[in-house]
């Protein structure tokens, strides 16, 4: 059996808004490096493929489209690329996939930041480019405005996506620029030729000359090509526009099916987007992961009771864009093995409460999957692309 891939999405104290109030939570440490180092080390002990780290240019909000003034949930966060870099030297195999905004940032800065993370992590960097969907975030920069979604817009993923389509188009340009910059140094550009006094062969450094409607970048990068050549680009998608973005720009897409029928529909939409984009999957594979929020305990009753307690603390039942699984690790293993043949390469699990649900993944789910021959027993590769069975691309500028 081909084994599945497993990632965890790390976010604050977990994905439940009341997770920070759980007995084993460490809410006072959310802004300290030790907290993140411990979580990522735990994920690496579980031999997971990678962790993702959330980020945003505005404070968290219970409302999708605008800020709120709540003080009873986690507010505030650290730059995810820097968190990933901070844990990189403390780990050796696990992939590190930070989120960055691409609407208000400079593509050049973001691209060299991710390339540098790949150097610092010796080939374990990924990147989740994200648009800024909240109009209020634009006021943090004051350079431009972005659409304010209405309350009606947020009732439908398709309506949101349609309203934000120009931002996704720009995001695709940002990824294209980043990819060109990552390739702009050929692997053997550094020559240290004492005879001619040249440190680099400038014929192997390339201007990227990107010209788009909103920005242009000349290049080349200042950062030499990184260990993976192209760090892994991942994106989260719920609707046609982001599926098209994934088909154009990503190496891996996270989707959010509710059940197998929904999964089939979504994967068919992704296939359509890939065809429309004219993407050759043999040359450029697109990995598909299903996202699940998970609450895991020894018995289903315990998991349900824990979710009830958290819901009570939050004053509302947990809601998510992704399916919420509440039960035992064995039952989750059943679900993953049930859904996998629908066309998923792997799953990204979003622990509802940290560290509880992460430890349930690494210490109970992983051994359970392994017993069924469905998960690795040791890392066999050292890079994130390697874990996922992706090859290291040759620079597009290299003459063969």
């Amino acid at each position: 059996m081909v084994t599945l891939h497993l990632a965890v999405a790390l976010n604050d104290a977990g994905w439940h808004p009341a997770a920070w109030r759980a007995p084993d939570a460490r809410p006072a440490e959310l802004f300290s490096p030790g907290y993140w180092a411990d979580l990522v080390a735990e994920a690496e002990r579980g031999l997971l493929d990678f962790v993702t780290l959330e980020d945003a240019l505005g404070q968290q909000s219970a409302a999708f489209h605008r800020p709120d003034d709540r003080t009873d949930q986690v507010r505030g966060g650290l730059d995810a690329v820097l968190v990933a870099a901070r844990v990189a030297p403390l780990t050796s195999r696990i992939g590190l996939v930070p989120t960055t905004n691409v609407t208000h940032t400079e593509p050049f800065h973001v691209a060299i930041g991710i390339a540098t993370l790949d150097h610092a992590a010796r080939g374990r960097a990924g990147w989740r480019p994200q648009i800024a969907s909240r109009a209020a975030d634009a006021r943090h920069f004051g350079r431009r405005t972005t659409p304010q979604l209405t309350d009606e817009d947020v009732l439908s993923e398709e309506r949101i996506a349609a309203r934000l389509r120009p931002l996704f188009a720009e995001a695709a340009d940002v990824v294209e620029v980043a990819r060109r910059l990552w390739d702009s140094w050929e692997d053997d550009a550094e020559i240290r030729d004492t005879a001619t006094g040249r440190f680099v062969d400038r014929a192997k450094l390339h201007a990227v000359d990107f010209e788009g409607p909103l920005f242009s970048v000349r290049g080349p990068s200042i950062t030499p090509r990184s260990p993976q050549g192209q760090p892994l680009v991942a994106s989260l998608a719920h609707a046609s526009t982001p599926y098209e973005f994934a088909a154009r720009a990503s190496d891996l897409v996270f989707v959010t099916p509710d059940d197998p029928a929904d999964a089939r529909r979504i994967l068919a939409e992704v296939d359509t987007a890939v065809r429309t984009a004219g993407r050759d999957l043999a040359a450029r594979p697109l990995k598909r992961f299903a996202d699940l929020v998970v609450l895991l305990d020894d018995t289903e009753a315990e998991a349900v009771a824990r979710k009830d307690r958290l819901d009570t603390l939050a004053g509302a039942e947990l809601a998510s864009d992704a399916h919420i699984f509440t039960g035992t690790p064995a039952a989750l293993a059943d679900l993953l093995l049930d859904w996998r043949p629908l066309g998923f390469d792997g799953f990204r699990l979003r622990p509802a409460a940290l560290p509880h649900d992460l430890e349930a993944i690494t210490r109970a789910l992983v051994p359970e999957l392994r017993r069924r021959g469905a998960f690795r027993t040791a890392y066999t590769e050292t890079t994130l692309r390697g874990h996922l069975g992706l090859t290291r691309p040759v620079s597009r500028y290299a003459r063969v």
């Binding site: 490096p33 505030g76 006094g197 040249r198 000349r218």
Partner: protein
């Protein structure tokens, strides 16, 4: 006795690094950064400094290829170094032209939190359209606006750092209050920035990261005196350094600041060997490697503004005059201004002393700051500081990554013996290492 402050900079892009030396390793591998940072921490240095690059320099329309080319995004490397060091300050350059305050303040506050209070920001400016070609807005800034934007940028960043007060993260699970009401709320209305909202990142251990500036012009010196905690200067000769030191320190009072609140730290090199004679010979060898025949011609072309590849580096200066309007070297501020005057001065020097092109370039660009036995170098560093030429130095080793070892292992113990350098870190934050007080907030300085 004044205490000496020491920092180290991993050399990049200029011809300091002798990359042809067999001991020279990668300038990009994380191993190199870790090794140099750990050497600095072993030596109880104040901080590790990384400059930034935003566009590769070009020479005659092509990437400049004689020096080390290629470097990482510096704050990302510094965050990684926070994991493998414990006390060492972590300083990076971030340009105030091709960035926005919200993002820079956020990244620096994050670095401060992720390092336990060790972050520093070297604020630099640019108006350079050449560099701007890599950015959304291009080279949009008039030269006259460099410091007005930088000053407002820094003021805005400080407002953002102050938008979370100490203790705004309550994390009180029992009562259900995670943050204090209004944490992170800000509004700044100014000429360069008109922004408002909620800042994401709580106050770091230092309150404000340490602010570094490199000011030479009158405007730069005022900016440093009003706003910086540390100045990098280029005065490596004591007779030039003392007037600069006195001038900048004298400007502090009008901003309500004391002498100790601004540290002046020139960049310097230190060539150490068993004896003074050996060190002098070694320094000469290094300088010749730094100014190769090709480098000598390239530097001359930078000032002459024309192709001089037909000239013999071991021969006399060209008989042609500089072309004042032509820039052959782009992305390098040294060669931008006063080139005709520089050329006149060089020609005079070469004539008087009968120097070849390469000898002239070694004379004007080469040269090491401190050369000698460990005792000689320690005495010179101490004398320079006690004579009010500086508060300390940013050492730029000529070898990556092992170039600091001699200083750490042989010079630092002598400074410690003299009682002018710490034997152990007494604080945990960079502000504490530098003897700086709590940060001043914008209202107090304006």
């Amino acid at each position: 006795m004044k205490q000496v402050h020491l920092a180290v900079q991993l050399p990049a892009i200029h011809n300091v690094t002798v990359w042809s030396d067999p001991r020279s390793e990668s300038q990009i591998s994380i191993d190199s950064f870790i090794r140099l940072a750990q050497a600095a921490e072993r030596g109880k240095f104040d901080f590790f400094f990384l400059a930034e690059g935003l566009r590769l320099r070009e020479h005659k329309g092509e990437v400049y290829d004689l020096d080390v080319v290629g470097r990482p995004e510096n704050l990302t490397v510094l965050a990684a170094l926070a994991a493998v060091t414990d006390r060492l300050g972590l300083a990076g350059t971030v340009n105030a032209t091709f960035n926005e305050p919200y993002e820079v303040a956020r990244r620096l506050a994050s670095l401060d939190l992720l390092s336990g209070g060790r972050a520093a920001w070297n604020v630099v400016t640019s108006y350079d359209a050449f560099t701007g070609e890599n950015f959304r807005r291009g080279g949009f800034l008039d030269e006259a606006d460099r410091y007005t934007r930088a000053a407002e940028f820094l003021r805005t960043a400080r407002e953002l750092w102050d938008s979370w007060a100490e203790g705004d993260v309550l994390a009180d699970a029992a009562s259900g209050h995670f943050v204090r009401e209004g944490a992170g709320r800000f509004a700044h209305r100014g000429r360069h920035f008109d922004i408002e909202g909620r800042f994401t990142t709580p106050r770091g251990p230092q309150g404000h990261p340490v602010v570094i500036q490199a000011g030479e012009s009158d405007a730069g010196r005022e900016f440093a005196a009003s706003d910086a905690d540390v100045i990098f200067s280029k005065y490596s000769r004591l007779e030039e350094a003392r007037p600069f030191y006195a001038d900048v320190k004298s400007r502090l009072a009008k901003y309500g600041r004391t002498h100790g609140q601004l540290k002046i730290m020139p960049t310097a090199t230190a060539i150490v060997a068993d004896t003074d004679e050996e060190a002098v010979a070694y320094a000469d060898e290094i300088t010749r490697a730094q100014v190769s025949p090709q480098t000598a011609i390239a530097h001359l072309e930078g000032v002459w503004g024309r192709d001089l590849s037909g000239y013999d580096p071991d021969g006399p200066l060209p008989d042609v005059d500089p072309e004042p309007e032509s820039l052959v070297l782009k992305g390098h501020s040294v060669f931008r201004k006063g080139r005709e005057e520089t050329a006149r001065r060089w020609r005079k020097l070469a004539d008087e002393r009968g120097l070849s092109i390469r000898e002239l370039m070694i004379e004007v660009h080469g040269g090491q700051t401190f050369v000698g036995s460990p005792r000689t170098v320690a005495d010179a560093i101490d004398h320079y500081v006690q004579s009010d030429g500086a508060d300390g130095f940013v050492l730029v080793p000529h070898l990556t990554p092992g170039g600091l070892d001699e200083v750490v292992d042989r010079v630092v113990p002598l400074l410690q013996e003299k009682g002018v350098f710490r034997e152990e870190y007494t604080g945990t934050t960079l502000r504490e290492h530098l003897g700086l007080g709590a940060p001043t907030s914008p209202e107090e300085t304006s």
